[in-house]
């Protein structure tokens, strides 16, 4: 795929080297060092750092070394949140291997996540310190906003599931996906790259809409894949249904089914995770197909991708053709074509 071309590999290698350099900088610490490096050493697509670096190059490229440090901070922060997410979700696999808490227990895993979270501020501060107070202010602003939005999104998803909230509309789902997925995964990396590349001369809200629609398309497609025969690396088919995860398709099917079906669906959603049987999960998956919820999800994902392309043209269209611009533009197709 185009997005996995030389640029992504180059950006990924530079970011990974910077991450490892920062993780190796501290004094040796038992029960911590190996855990901090565990997830970063497992690879990963390095998409977020690449978004940051490409935006930095496109919008001025005034501080390339600072952009790499910021990319390292993004990757470290992302891995820290993955550790905590895995604990919150009770996940057993991450990137094809046991999750950190499955290997070392929840307390040590949470501690490692905390340490990685704060360690990420090392490269971020190093990146922005030479760029002046205005840039520092902007970076802190967008980072604080990202942290708040991400936590709110995670709270929404967990709260809906744990409190069995049923009265949800599509706008609720979009709001959750904006906060939980798009802000940290697409918007924030692009904003950091834009701020650092332009030395704070450009408004970071320029890239907000593109990142939002890209993130929405990504999340819906991710949810669709979970319902498919190929749910993704290390994931279980229909796992989101068994988890009663509030997806766009679940919201849709609840509004499109008849009385008996809705009663059964609400009963199913009210069960605990271990009480939900395979037969009910398969019934719900079939119902989603019958009521057009899967097709609806596909159409909405495609519409969000279209909106993302529109926003891409509005923001990046006037820039001269370059490898970086092609990379950013190819992200829309990558949402659907990714492995």
């Amino acid at each position: 795929m185009a997005v996995e071309g030389a640029l992504l590999q180059r950006y990924g290698a530079a970011t990974r080297a910077e991450v490892m350099r920062y993780l190796a900088a501290g004094s040796p610490s038992p029960f911590l060092d190996e855990m901090l490096a565990e997830y970063p050493s497992r690879g990963g697509k390095m998409l977020r750092p690449a978004i940051c670096l490409a935006n930095a190059a496109l919008f001025g490229n005034e501080a390339p070394s600072a952009a790499v440090q910021a990319a390292a901070a993004i990757e470290m922060l992302h891995n820290a949140l993955l550790i905590h997410d895995d604990v919150q979700d009770g996940s057993e696999l991450r990137r094809g291997k046991p999750t950190l808490h499955a290997l070392h227990g929840v307390p040590l895993a949470i501690n490692a996540g905390d340490a990685l979270l704060f360690a990420a501020f090392g490269p971020l501060i190093d990146a922005v310190s030479p760029l002046g107070s205005h840039v520092i202010r902007q970076v802190m602003d967008v980072t604080a906003m990202m942290a708040r939005q991400t936590a709110e999104g995670q709270a929404l998803e967990l709260g809906w599931r744990d409190r069995n909230v049923l009265d949800l509309a599509e706008a609720d789902y979009m709001r959750m996906a904006l906060k939980k997925t798009a802000w940290m995964g697409m918007i924030w990396p692009a904003q950091l790259g834009l701020i650092i590349g332009s030395r704070g001369r450009l408004d970071p809200e320029m890239v907000l809409r593109f990142g939002y629609f890209l993130g929405l398309a990504f999340q819906i497609e991710d949810d669709l894949r979970n319902l498919s025969e190929d749910p993704g690396y290390g994931k279980e088919q229909n796992g989101d249904l068994a988890e009663a995860k509030r997806t766009l398709m679940l919201i849709h099917v609840r509004g499109a089914c008849n009385t008996d079906e809705r009663a059964r669906l609400d009963w199913f959603l009210g069960l605990r995770r271990e009480e939900r049987g395979e037969a009910d999960v398969l019934w719900l998956a079939r119902l989603m197909h019958e009521r057009g919820s899967i097709e609806h999800g596909r159409r909405v994902a495609a519409a969000m991708a279209g909106a993302a392309e529109h926003e891409f043209a509005a923001v990046y269209g006037a820039l001269p053709p370059s490898e970086e611009r092609t990379f950013i533009g190819s992200l829309v197709r990558w949402v659907f074509d990714r492995a």
Partner: protein
């Protein structure tokens, strides 16, 4: 796409009418909606339904951004504004520079005093000597207090000049021309005399005495107002200052 195609793609597209289109504003803990029958599905053209979804998506984004801005404004409206940091740092740096300047000044003063002390040593003490010459007494600092000048401090002059002037009756002579120098620097306003009493015989005392710096020479001057009907005789009174208990001397005049 990897989602299986298990349904009839020719089946018509139906979209339900949601009970809400806006996101939940509360904590997301509303009670479940009871199953109350199926709403009649409303058929929409595909492009209209999806266009509505995109519009909703834009609304969600705008709403979230608006809320974020509001939260940011509230944060910046707190007791401490992060934008004030540069000014505060500048003020702090200024204070530190001032403190450093004062410390440097004090250090130079000490060095200067040490050099003066060293100059007074004609010869260095012999090796092994335990006798160290005492520090030289510091010179008197110039007067800094406003108003009347204090008396000049000089160890060589234990008295200060006093010029006695008269007002009123003309046939009067002064027998006092000096006073003792106050132990501490003292302004003219702090010098006073309660009155001059007749040494022999009864008569009303002379009480109008005003001390001042002598503008025409060293020391003080005092203006004594003698009434025209003041009886003849020798009058005297003690002179005090507020900085010490002992009198500075006595003023003696003679009225003819």
């Amino acid at each position: 796409m990897t989602t299986p195609e298990q349904h009839d793609p020719a089946k018509r597209w139906v979209s339900h009418q949601p009970e809400r289109t806006g996101p939940q504003r509360g904590p997301g803990m509303k009670k479940p909606v009871p199953a109350e029958g199926v709403r009649e599905p409303e058929t929409l053209a595909v492009n209209e339904a999806i266009a509505e979804t995109v519009r909703t998506a834009y609304d969600v984004l705008n709403d979230t951004v608006k809320q974020g801005r509001k939260a940011a404004e509230q944060f910046r409206g707190g007791t401490y504004n992060v934008r004030d940091v540069p000014d505060d740092v500048r003020a702090m740096a200024g204070n530190l520079l001032g403190l450093a300047r004062q410390l440097s000044s004090a250090t130079f003063d000490i060095c200067e005093a040490l050099l003066r002390q060293a100059d007074t040593l004609m010869t260095p003490p012999p090796p092994g000597s335990t006798h160290v010459p005492p520090f030289q007494e510091p010179k008197a600092a110039p007067a800094t207090q406003p108003g009347p000048q204090p008396f000049a401090a000089s160890a060589a002059a234990p008295v200060i000049a006093l010029e006695v002037l008269f007002n009123g009756k003309e046939a009067v002579r002064a027998h006092t021309s000096t006073l003792a120098r106050p132990a501490a620097p003292t302004g003219a306003a702090h010098v006073s005399c309660d009155g001059l009493a007749r040494r022999s015989g009864s008569a009303a005392p002379i009480t109008d005495l005003v001390f001042d710096i002598n503008p025409h020479g060293p020391g003080l001057r005092v203006m004594v107002t003698v009434p025209q009907d003041q009886p003849a005789g020798v009058y005297s009174g003690a002179v005090y200052c507020t900085t010490q208990k002992s009198p500075l001397g006595e003023i003696v005049i003679e009225v003819d």
